[in-house]
Symmetry: D3
Subunit: 135 residues, 6 copies
């Protein structure tokens, strides 16, 4: 079993707030992240596939193919976008790194046919990142 | 002469567009960066001071003091903000890295009394950065 | 289940030696790290919490809160300190990265009430790091 | 149980192709990586050892010793080499990161006597890496 | 005056040797870099343009345009190539970082029409890099 | 003219204080850095040589030779040392990054015979660095 990881990147705006909270509760919970006009990040996405290398190629999965899946199914929908407004699969979700990671997993999983999706990691900044393993 | 650099960080949303351009001209010029709902970045700011070290301290400038100036005069105004809407000293300016660097210089320069401000560098992503030296 | 990581940083001096060893045994085992006057590092600490995101916030744990716990319980005790002399919870312990990681875990664990502490990673240099998972 | 990681580095040329494939099949599968005259990378290798710290040293394994094993058994054989031609333990193997990681594991495992080898990670670029845990 | 930098990346094989030298002289001068079957690197290229921002765009140069020039004129010729064999503009040149930087400058300079080319930096590894400013 | 840079690394302890200052003045000026038992850093050193490439080698300076000079004249004296106590060429000097950079320059300059020493940069942390150009 080998774990193969491909890193991708996107830049996006977001705002953290819960419409069911009062304004002051939103500020108490989300602080600066609740700023009404939003802020943004350079996000990194690490997608890990687990599987056995194919003896005829030495690959668990062709990384060109994995790169294309990540690009088509996820990056192209979120890059240079506002995550609260522009992304249909994040509608109704508070766009925390946790929720982005789970949404990314759901977008990618049906398209991985060599090996299996093992982990999605989202880096929001150099100091904050989350990992989801589908459990 | 020694050049001393302090790095700071902020996360912000922005949108690149010129209200004097037509919508299609904005898209032609700014492409994905013109997305109406904005996007965002983790910005790094490198501020360089040039001067002679003070023999009694070995410092060109006390970095705690420089850190506080950068925080008070610049980072606190832009961190977790929307650069098109929330920042008075960027009003009427297209918030490209070039314009952010010049605005940062103008904010900091009056407060540097040990050594002199030599350069402001803004990293928008790992692949794009600009430098302004006040010339 | 989501794994959320927050990175913190401290700079400290340390010296590796075992007072029960002879001087030559200390040099044989710890080599340059046994230098009597000490040396030091910029340490990075990655603290990982595992849990379910709260549906009303999208957070496993509020990272501002986690940041404060790491700062209050660990960083403030070790930053700009000598790990052999200045830190009561390292008294009598050889301050290797292994021992620092276990001490950090014991400091943080009682304070994590959202999710559970999953891992503490200490980077001593870019080339050396250790991870402790409480097992 | 503590997981201790040491990072090493090498620069090497390689070419991905399967002599059992036709030329066009090689290009279809390996694309630019099949270029007949090869290309190359700066590889990073993270070797992780799992074990209990020795109470008399605070070490799971002496990193100087681990560094020497990695250097002698692996880095010295691959650094500034052509992985398709110059490395006897990669003979007959397509030098993908997957196959390099498994070969590295087999080279190192017999020499680890303090703790046990837990993982070998090979970074081919900043965006592509693989991990092998001997399973 | 603003200095705008765009970073690009390529992976390539090379071998350092001078055909006018004897084999032993090549080994004396170039050491491991003279290995007959070559080795390789992940190269980073930082291209800096100096100019005044256009008031209607806030750009010194459109980075999408600069990215395309770097890609078309340089990266596409060297990425996943052997620098001794596959690159016509490096023919007859020992492919040191110094010579690659000067060749890159000569490829790009005729295509820069907004601002002027100020510097080309080539990183061969994290520890070795060179800069050329056209002087 | 090409600028060639080699990066080196050392880990050291230091304490910032001026024996001519009172204890309270030292704390006022140097704050946490004045902690009596010291603290420490992983320092990076970037040494830049300016010169014309030798046409027979493509090198401004053989980096193996530069690496050896940096190692012999500087790194071996400061690595895993206490900069206040163990380093003769820092005796009587407050070991700020500024003073370390100037001391490093004076150690290296007499040994550079290919090209000329152009700059010494000392990174104390990722956020603080200084540069000295011999002026």
């Amino acid at each position: 079993m080998i774990y193969v990881t491909r890193r991708a990147h996107f830049s996006a705006a977001h705002r953290l707030f819960n419409p069911a909270f009062s304004e002051s509760k939103n500020i108490e919970v989300f602080d600066k992240c609740a700023n009404p006009n939003g802020h943004g990040h350079n996000y990194y996405v690490d997608v890990t596939i687990a599987g056995e290398p194919d003896p005829s190629t030495g690959y668990v999965i062709d990384l060109k193919k994995l790169k294309r899946i990540i690009e088509d199914e996820f990056i192209s929908k979120v890059d240079h976008k506002n995550l609260n407004v522009d992304v249909d699969f994040l509608r109704g979700v508070i766009p925390t790194a946790e929720n982005i990671a789970m949404a990314c997993w759901r977008r990618l999983a049906p398209h991985i046919s060599e090996g299996k999706l093992f982990s999605v990691r989202i880096y929001e900044t150099e100091k904050n990142f989350v990992e989801y393993k589908g459990e």
